[in-house]
Amino acid sequence: MSCKKIGFITGLGILVFAFMVTGSMAANRDFDKADTIRIGSLGPVLLVPGIGIHNAAKMAVEEINAAGGIHGKKVELFIGDTEGKPEKGITALKKLVLEDKVDVLVGCYSSGVALALQPYLPRYKIVYIATGTASIALTNNVKKNYKKYKYFFRDMINSDIRQQKWAAKFLKEFVNGQLGYTKFAILAENTKWVHKYAPNLRKDLEDAGLKVTFYEMFDIDIKDFSPTFVKIKSTGAQWIGQIVSHAASIPLVKAWQDTKAAPMGLCNVASMDSKFWEMTGGKCLGEITYNFIARAPLTDKTIPMWDKYVKKYGTNPVYTTGFTYDSVYMLTEIIKQKKSLKSDDIINGLENISYYGVLHPQIGFDKKSHDLLKGRYVMPMVQWQAGAKQVVVWPDKFKTGNYVSPTWWKK
């Protein structure tokens, strides 16, 4: 019987293999022989930043095809679901490259996922513009080992230096300068993109003579934040700088509103989304977060793109939308220009590009680190105000309303 048992297993095994489709692997196809140009879009298909990536990529691809494609070749989009986890991200990347045979990649939410994907790029010789990942470790890798990591570009604002400096500027100029608060609490989630951000922010504040009464990097598994806010309150903090992307934002905001520890405003990725009000039952009233896109004339293209997106998808663009939309255009632009799908040609093109996108009139990449060029970005601070309104309160250049202090807060 055992022989049959094993015979059966082999049979089942063979059946199971029949599930799968055969094909052949070809890195860097020949442009002339390609029927269509294939773009892979990576991101968690069910999470807001991922939806922002895939929607933006879809919209850009449709527009490019409507305008005649690349030298008459249509652009095809393939979606890879990273679920926001490194392990799933690797599977998704392998599927896009090995099964769907995409020529270039965009997208990806979460620096941890992008870090896990980076080593695969030289293996498959595929160019990838990351549009939702902020850790500087990614571009530092390019700088340190250009030969290996040259395939990686980042169209997004790094957290370690640029977001951190911007956050420090906001807290110093606005919260301290205009509101007069001097005691700060820093509440940061414990993830890759924050590992330098939070400690450096603390240092900057202290160097400016401000007090940081509370500082904690918390585990993203935490469910109940009340004790944390209680602790913050007991330190006498006047302003809470939250740095949150992956953690449970809804319970965090609820616990904040319930404990009434202090006004809170810095960075909460979930709070950038227009649905956050509804998701928290309005408990985000008064919270501030910076965003990377707003319905403001960042360039001539911004407002038309914003309105078209809202009309098409019924929701506001999120922070990944603008970066992804621009990146898809940049990639097709280069392919069109070089008439090539060879990774070296594309890398060369991207290193020299100066693109007029929806976020900035002169998007370009640093030749050594492949990070965005300095100064070519904006980050408006947006506050949730009564009536589910997202109001830009700082900097004054983009201001659409005044800062409103929470009613329960007495300085």
């Binding site: 999470l47 807001v48 469910k223 934040f225 009340s226 004790p227 007991s234 039952g281």
Partner: protein, 286 residues
């Protein structure tokens, strides 16, 4: 001082919630001798049904809460009747089928509602100051509901005929059978009660935290921990250990760091099992 009061208040609320989740878990073990890994899923179903009725269908709060609890109890009874019954004696099987059910509900809710947290509006708005500490009415309500439910369970078991039958089966199944009690009927009823208690916790936690498809694991681990610390099958043990865990976790997260509360229950389980394997008030030796 405020910090101390905070620990006192928040700890009591969490302790009461944990207790509410854990008593159902320990009850079904005490009566039917099964470890129900789908217990956390009942808690999650309670929260999601509350969300469905209250937020999506806009039904009023008491009715939605009642429907959520009864609905979950019904699901629990169905699982017991059609999933567990015929293999009840094999504890490996029960562990695994209930784990499979828990994962199934996770994926079901994931597919239907997505991975995002769903918020439920507070049943009562507003808050009060307790010794200089803001506590929302929702939390106070949750505390009292948990207390009432546990008391009701106690009264039910000690005073009603069905309750006494449950107690009888828990204490000695053979004797109960001789007295004319049908154990299978008792098991199904107990599973219903156990599921209902978890669902109550879920319904009341939904406005404080959120309803997400992974919430079952968290509550299951806590219930398992409490019941092991308190002693499997002991309701008193579950109450004591539940309150202890609530207080110690809150104290750890307020006084040390929010990163460490989970360490409390993990280390507690290992220590308890190494030092006193029957738990604080265990009724059954391992």
């Amino acid at each position: 001082m405020t910090t101390f009061i905070h620990i006192l208040v928040l700890g009591a609320i969490w302790g009461a919630l944990y207790t509410l989740i854990a008593v159902g878990f320990t009850l079904i073990f005490g009566v039917a001798g099964i470890i129900n890994l789908a217990h956390g899923a009942f808690y999650m179903l309670g929260a999601y049904l509350a969300y469905t009725f209250m937020t999506l269908l806009k039904i009023n709060v008491p009715l939605s809460a009642l429907m959520a609890v009864l609905g979950t109890a019904g699901i629990g009874m169905l699982i017991d009747r059609y999933g567990i019954r015929f293999m009840r004696e094999t504890h490996v099987y029960v562990l695994i089928i209930t784990l499979a059910f828990a994962l199934f509900f996770q994926e079901l809710l994931y597919a239907v509602y997505g991975p995002h947290g769903k918020a439920v509006k507070s049943f009562v708005t507003g808050e009060m100051l307790l010794g200089g500490v803001h506590v929302s009415y929702q939390k106070i309500l949750t505390f009292f509901v948990a207390g009432i439910m546990v008391t009701l369970l106690w009264l039910f078991i000690k005073k009603t005929k069905t309750g006494k039958s449950i107690d009888a089966v828990a204490q000695n199944r053979e004797a109960a059978v001789l007295m004319g009690i049908q154990p299978e009927r008792i098991y199904v009823i107990t599973m219903g009660i156990s599921a209902a208690l978890a669902a109550v916790a879920g319904v009341f936690i939904a406005p404080i935290l959120e309803a997400v498809p992974t919430m079952w694991a968290f509550s299951l681990f806590k219930a398992f921990a409490i019941v092991i610390i308190g002693g499997l099958g002991s309701i008193q043990g579950a109450i004591i250990a539940g309150m202890l865990l609530g207080y110690s976790e809150t104290a750890v997260s307020v006084l040390i760091s929010a990163n460490y509360p989970d360490m409390v229950y993990l280390v507690a389980i290992i220590l308890v099992l190494v030092l006193r394997p029957r738990g604080l008030m265990g009724t059954r030796a391992h």
